[in-house]
């Protein structure tokens, strides 16, 4: 059955739980480095190995980054918070319990705004945000046919962001996750690099007949590590649940896993097999109090976030919603734009270069914004070369891939290629003078207002200047020499 057809009759109710690794120097409860890609088990100590007798100590920085993230998401910071133990056995978790926040989470409430094509901006409400420690990784070793455990990741600070079930389509779920990621990157709390596991999503979904106010039985899908998987798994799950419901069946409450290869979900454990986590207050840690003053300081240190920034770009610089959206989609692209303006670049011109040429090159080369080789200086300089007539805009655009690719200053490239003087007016003037002398017929046609005649002038000028001339300039010079053609004839 087609998804669109189904969605006319059925409404999905979706919630997301996102785990974000916080960007701290050290782990959450010990002094080991919080870093990706080190040799297995090299970033460990008695605490994160869960050795007998070792005790956790809260890393203040991870706590404050959590507060910062929660503030960026409009959460209500709780002054009195605490940690609990979540008990379950798994080999990547050396203590067989996870230190998390259950009774007294870091923040309650909050929201993320999303804008899809059909609706106006929509707020997805957040239920809660809490801190917890990450687990290690189990790695299957085919040589010994055994499972190896790498505990470098164990104890990495995580912020879990739990949404209300406010999302009504797979597309909105992806929009929500993207916006959330964008905000957290802006707030500099996490790199949110999905390939490195900085940003991981669980989702829960139920389906109900449109118009129904009741919630259906929901399933939970764990560990979706890309937006594409999130979308695909929700689409699959909507179809699966809708078909069960429409054939009179019952959806089972269970935890599922998604196989990206087959695009299908399958059962991990049923409701009966659900863990009893036996939460209780972590006796090795004291409750944490954070004062309103400190919350205020952290709030004051937050940078401008993407939503307000986008609105400001539209209002202050007259950018289109689209261009402003492209610029603010990433903290780095917005930073590039703003420093180009700070260097004297004209806002609309700068915006167009970045949103079109820079973004295009990045896309072609598969680069992320933090890998962008373009400096604001290069963009400003390129625009100046055009503005002072050294090169035409067309030439400028043509040069762009090379500037981008080599990282050389645009003026150097122009000089090396001998492109400077592309709009050398005296040369164009000389070519036109010769043509006027040699082709009286053409002059007559021009004066009679025949448009073809204009092109007949431009063509040879272009050929003789090897394309360096600007057509507009040619027309302007021609008008200077022969006067404007009569209007309205062709």
């Amino acid at each position: 059955m087609e998804l669109e057809k189904l969605l006319e009759r059925c409404e999905p109710v979706i919630g997301l739980e996102i785990h974000v690794q916080l960007r701290t120097e050290t782990k959450m409860f010990c002094g080991c480095a919080n870093r990706f890609g080190a040799p297995p088990n090299s970033l460990t100590c008695p605490v994160c190995l869960g050795l007998p007798g070792a005790l956790p100590v809260i890393n203040r920085r991870s706590f404050e980054l959590g507060v910062r993230a929660a503030l960026a998401l409009h959460g209500n910071i709780q002054n009195d918070t605490g940690f609990d133990r979540k008990n379950y056995f798994y080999p990547d978790q050396p203590k067989n319990y996870q230190i998390s926040q259950y009774e007294l989470p870091l923040a309650l409430g909050g929201y993320v705004e999303i804008e899809n094509d059909s609706d106006a901006a929509k707020k997805i409400r957040l239920m809660r945000m809490h801190l917890e420690e990450d687990a290690g990784k189990n790695i299957h070793d085919p040589d010994s046919n055994s499972t190896l455990v790498d505990l470098n990741r164990a104890g990495t600070p995580l912020l879990e962001i739990v949404s209300e079930p406010d999302i009504r389509s797979p597309g909105d779920a992806v929009l929500y996750a993207r916006s959330l990621r964008e905000i957290l990157r802006y707030a500099e709390v996490s790199d949110c690099d999905m390939e490195k596991g900085n940003f991981r999503a669980d989702t829960n979904i139920s389906v109900r007949p449109r118009g129904s106010g009741e919630l259906g039985t929901r399933t939970e899908i764990k560990n979706l590590n890309s937006f594409a998987h999130l979308r695909a798994c929700l689409e699959f799950e909507i179809k699966r649940q809708a078909e069960i419901l429409e054939s009179g069946g019952q959806v089972l409450q269970e935890t599922l896993q998604f196989d990206p290869v087959t695009g299908r979900t399958s059962s991990m454990r049923s409701k009966e097999e659900a863990h009893d986590y036996r939460y209780f207050p972590e006796p090795d840690l004291l409750p944490v109090f954070i004062s309103e003053d400190r919350v205020g300081e952290i709030r004051g240190s937050l940078p401008e976030l993407p939503g307000p920034k986008r609105r400001r770009y539209v209002e202050d610089y007259g950018l289109s919603e689209y261009v402003a959206g492209v610029l603010t989609a990433d903290r780095e692209s917005a930073a590039l734009f703003e420093s180009a303006i700070a260097r004297g670049g004209e806002p609309k011109r700068m915006a167009n270069w970045i949103a079109n040429e820079v973004a295009g090159q990045m896309n072609d080369r598969g680069l992320a914004w933090d890998e962008c080789p373009m400096t604001p200086k290069m963009i400003v300089e390129l625009e100046e070369l055009i503005a002072d007539g050294t090169i035409t805009r067309k030439v400028g655009r043509g040069l762009f891939p090379e500037i981008f690719g080599t990282g050389k200053p645009p003026s150097d490239i122009v000089r090396e290629k001998g492109l400077a003087g592309g709009a050398d007016l005296s040369e164009i003037g000389r070519i036109l003078d010769r043509m006027i002398e040699e082709k009286p017929k053409l002059v007559a046609d021009y004066k009679a207002g025949r448009k073809k005649a204009v092109n007949a002038f431009i063509g040879p000028v272009m050929r003789k200047t090897r394309g360096k001339a600007d057509a507009g300039e040619v027309v302007r010079l021609l008008e200077g020499k022969l006067g404007a053609p009569d209007e309205g004839k062709s």
Partner: protein, 498 residues
């Protein structure tokens, strides 16, 4: 004949050059060698390391470096306290051959003051028990009667000090595990205020109750040891950021306890209390009165609920603390082909029956649907017990009570009756729940020649007062009388052989 030199005396002698650390340590090792075949106080003796360290100390003394408070003093350490590269098993099969890569905070402190670790002492597995029989090793015997238990869980530490093998042993106390064996063995045992001593490196039983403390021959030595191990440690968030006084074990107010108000809690002298114990403790109290203290009756009305609350909270925390022993990362691993059976087999083979019982109790108490009725309720009782003490201390300076309802019982008794065993903790558990410091001081002997202990409990962080009163009492009396009978027997046998 053994001479029972105090730690103060040993450190002074080594400092002044009267004795070398090597002589002291050799003597300690010789006694362990001689007595421990019968007493089984130690589970591991590190002679080579101890002698090498003693030589190092002697060399330092020769260079004029004589600073350490415990210079050359042999110290025994309970097996649940981590010692770097020295086996640390908490007397459990699941940690067989485990050698920690780091020293506990208290070990760093001891070594920093010139102490010499001579070995690890026996205990009930993970601290769960009060007889030192729930151990993977041979059960420890009471030096006063080898047919009796030494108490527990720090039975090895108490027996080692009672037998004169070491002047100081570290124990740990969760619900009485320092105080009760000290009472059974006729030595002094202090459970400090919760938070006074860092737990970093202590293999956790119940995190909100566990404390490390000294077991010594007398209160001034306990004061000296506490001074060394107490104080804030950044690695234990629950360690108190409070200045450590220079505990000297001297009685308060210039050498006397004149004017101190001693509270006697009605609830600690029930009708069914062992007659000899009741009499000895009352005699101890009148001894304090003779020294100038006055006695008032106080009430700790929630005492009767304390045991039940303790046996919910401690197993609940233990069930989580002991989850890490799963055969995956370290310790004993059972043969298996999948992770689930690895867990089940490693834990079933690795944990003894009492530990398994408490893990199950604790798991149940934390389970969804039971949490409020058990764990939360127990925490409420804990608050009430703490308030009892706060109120009582408005009326008195110290509280005196028996340590245990009876004296050391025969080996094997009540092993099949855990509830009966748990009830033996009735007088020690309340101070643990409240977090108060409490010391066990010998105050008499039974007709069978077994020591009886008196418990002195103080308000939080008043260890100085608690130990001061104990020291004054000990100075005026001479409990326990002489050398433990089993040690005397061994000595006379070896004397006859010579």
């Amino acid at each position: 004949m053994i001479s029972t030199a105090t730690a103060r005396r040993i450190a002074g002698d080594v400092r002044s050059g009267k004795r070398t650390a090597r002589e002291v340590v050799e003597e300690s090792l010789a006694r362990i060698e001689k007595y421990d075949g019968e007493i089984h106080a130690f589970v591991h003796v590190c002679s080579d390391e101890a002698l090498a360290r003693a030589d190092g100390i002697d060399a330092a003394v020769a260079r004029g470096e004589t600073d350490g408070l415990l210079l050359g003093v042999p110290v025994a350490v309970k097996d649940n306290i981590c010692t770097r590269n020295i086996p640390t098993t908490a007397a459990s099969r699941i940690l067989e051959n485990y050698r920690p890569p780091y020293d506990a905070h208290v070990i760093e402190r001891l070594l920093g003051e010139g102490a010499v670790i001579v070995g690890k002492t026996n205990q009930d597995e993970f601290g769960m028990g009060s007889t030192s029989q729930y151990t993977v090793y041979e059960a420890t015997r009471n030096p006063w009667n080898s047919g009796r238990v030494p108490g527990g869980s720090s039975g090895g530490s108490a027996a080692a000090v009672a037998a004169g093998m070491v002047p100081i042993a570290l124990g740990t106390d969760t619900g009485g595990s320092i105080r009760q064996p000290a009472a059974f063995c006729g030595v002094t045992g202090l459970k400090p205020t919760y938070g006074r001593v860092s737990r970093y490196g202590l293999i956790a039983f119940a995190s909100s109750l566990d404390q490390i403390g000294p077991i010594t021959a007398d209160a001034p030595d306990a004061a000296l040891a506490l001074r060394v191990i107490a104080g804030r440690d950044e690695r234990d968030s629950t360690s108190a950021d409070k200045k450590v006084p220079a505990y000297d074990g001297k009685p308060v107010s210039g050498g006397s306890i004149e004017g101190l108000k001693i509270g006697l809690p009605l609830e600690y002298f029930p009708d069914n209390l062992d007659g000899e114990v009741a009499a000895a403790v009352r005699l101890g109290v009148s001894g304090l009165e003779k020294l100038g203290a006055s006695v008032v009756e106080v009430s700790l009305p929630h005492t009767r609920y304390a045991i039940a609350a303790y046996y919910i909270i401690a197993p609940a925390e233990a069930s989580s603390n002991l989850a890490r022993y799963d055969g995956v990362h370290y310790g004993r691993r059972a043969e298996s082909h999948d992770v689930r059976s690895l867990y089940v087999r490693s834990r079933s083979e690795g944990f003894g029956p009492e530990v398994q019982r408490r893990i199950m109790l604790g798991t149940f108490a934390l389970s969804s649907g039971y949490y409020d009725a058990y764990y939360l309720k127990a925490q409420k009782v804990r608050t009430l017990v703490r308030r009892d003490f706060e109120k009582a201390f408005e009326r008195c300076d110290l509280i005196v009570s028996p340590v245990a309802p009876g004296s050391a019982f025969p080996l094997g008794k009540w092993l099949d009756d855990p509830i009966r065993m748990y009830l033996g903790d009735v007088f020690t558990v309340p101070a643990s729940l409240a977090g108060c410091p409490a010391v066990s001081v010998p105050c008499g002997m039974t007709g069978d020649g077994l020591p009886i202990g008196m418990q002195v409990i103080g308000p939080e962080f008043r260890e100085g007062l608690v130990l001061g009163a104990a020291a004054a009492y000990q100075k005026a009396t001479d409990h326990p009388a002489g050398i433990p009978s089993e040690i005397r027997k061994i000595e006379s046998r070896s004397g006859a052989n010579n």
